[in-house]
Subunit: 361 residues, 2 copies
Amino acid sequence: MSAERLVAVYRLRATRESVAARAEALALEQSVELPRAALRDERVRAEVAGRVAAIDERGEDLYEARVELACETVGDDAGQLLNMLFGNSSLQPDVALVDVQLPRSLATAFGGPRFGVVGLRALAGVQGRPLAASALKPQGLDAASLAALAATFAEAGIDVIKDDHGLADQRAAPFAVRVAAVTRALDAVAQRTGRRAVYAPSLTGDAGALARQLELARAAGVSMVMLAPMVSGVSMLSALARGSGMALLAHPSMAGCTAIAAPVLLGTLFRLFGADATIFPAAGGRFAAAGGEGPRIAAAAAAALHGLEPTMPVPAGGLSLERVPEVRARYGIDAMLLAGGDLIGAADVAARTRAFVEALT
Amino acid sequence: MSAERLVAVYRLRATRESVAARAEALALEQSVELPRAALRDERVRAEVAGRVAAIDERGEDLYEARVELACETVGDDAGQLLNMLFGNSSLQPDVALVDVQLPRSLATAFGGPRFGVVGLRALAGVQGRPLAASALKPQGLDAASLAALAATFAEAGIDVIKDDHGLADQRAAPFAVRVAAVTRALDAVAQRTGRRAVYAPSLTGDAGALARQLELARAAGVSMVMLAPMVSGVSMLSALARGSGMALLAHPSMAGCTAIAAPVLLGTLFRLFGADATIFPAAGGRFAAAGGEGPRIAAAAAAALHGLEPTMPVPAGGLSLERVPEVRARYGIDAMLLAGGDLIGAADVAARTRAFVEALT
């Protein structure tokens, strides 16, 4: 057990002459942070220090190094896993983290999604088609206006309604007031239509604030929440997965650290830590340049991983009605398509939203 | 009050023809996340939506856009300030955040360092020279070995001893056992020498684990702790500054997101949120390419900021004894120089450490 390892694959810019030393330095940086000669303890040298398992050439002065890191350096903390995978190396411009291979013990320790695709479908009451999602915005509206927008979305058939990540606990629509207003509005729609949209408010703030928001959400009957793990900390995502009982929607805010490949961070790692759905920029929207990785993120979110539930991919970011067929074809039915501005900006929000939902059914 | 603004300065890659539209899109992305035409609410349009104040050419197809963001979108949460400054834009490859200008109200709301340079000097009992710091490592050693290393450092005159950021709550040296062993060892040295080194254990884990570690540290008489804000969340740093009573040492793990300039993140923002000292790669060490920004980080940590205490700069990352005079000259006396591997890897750790301390006195 003590010698169990995870594998991190790093892309390195180096020359043929320097790459072996660079990979060795990386393996030490991401573990003991000392030169190997300074490791006087035999167990640390043999079982704890990172080691280079392979180096493969990938282009001119471009290599991939497989580094084996001891699982015991992680404990069962998500933040510490990030530390060990890329903490210090994030400060070095010649290296990127491009893949992670996790042993079963780590997968089990974190547990992955508690709902996953099957659980989200059950929550939303949707089978056999992608889920339709939208966002409450702009920030600055009062709670009543946001609730009215939520009601419009729900009437038009939207399955999941999330807060814009710009909605926090600001004066214009404080969390408690907003969550109460939106859930009441959705309850009223459900009484008329017989179908209840899922509302995922955004949790923000320090640990105390976030815990209070979670309790407010629970008291209001909320069953799904959104979190930006790279803002609130990946350990918070993991703690919510372990203890909240809520379905978890991960937002990519601050995740655009280009030196961790998006499929690794938004796909594999967010899934490992418990995200039931993961939002990412879909190709062609206003995050066009970042969007090319969408299919690889979705693949990582669904790949075999020691029996962990898959995470539902949520292509978003400037998704327009016209592009729904293309995006639907790309991601298949086990996805949640998120359109915000395209619906809210329409002259007839309800009609545009109905058209969006119909395009998915 | 409601219309008060902070200023974010973004560097944009764009053509002369496209830059105005790109800057406008950025101002909307970092605020309301809707096209301006979709903003039906007059107050949101006037007071909440971001606005472009100026665009300056900085090179071929390179511009700086000054964007004014409404303070009301931040509330008083550090994570939400990151969201508003760069959350979504971190996903866009053509933009970097290069400066932030904060109004007094935000500076006051967060409060900055509670100890700052003056408080750290008092804590360490050091006047008139830079502080000497080192790190306990490698991870994988047991608590007794780490405590013995701490004693060696303290006997040799080190002022501040921090955990390596790879030390978390792992089996080899669990937090509770490690903190007890190290503080006992430092107490014993203090009884002999009359001088007590400051020990800064590293806090990690989810909110519950971190709170338990904080209590353990407090019970052991610890007065300074280390946190990696980009792993644990900047709101955690802010919460510790507001409530822990501890001096706070910020570690840059995962902060190498190249699209936020290091002086902004490690200097201005970590200081705003309450870091009393901020670690960064010093030029010439093993983070050579990242190290050129050190002087600008130190400048941001000490710049006038509505009366906030300055944050002590901590150049680190492969600092060797030979380079102490140069680094000392670069950062002046109000700095803490951190040498780890150079001391631990020496044949005679005590002698090398004494030489390091002497080079600073």
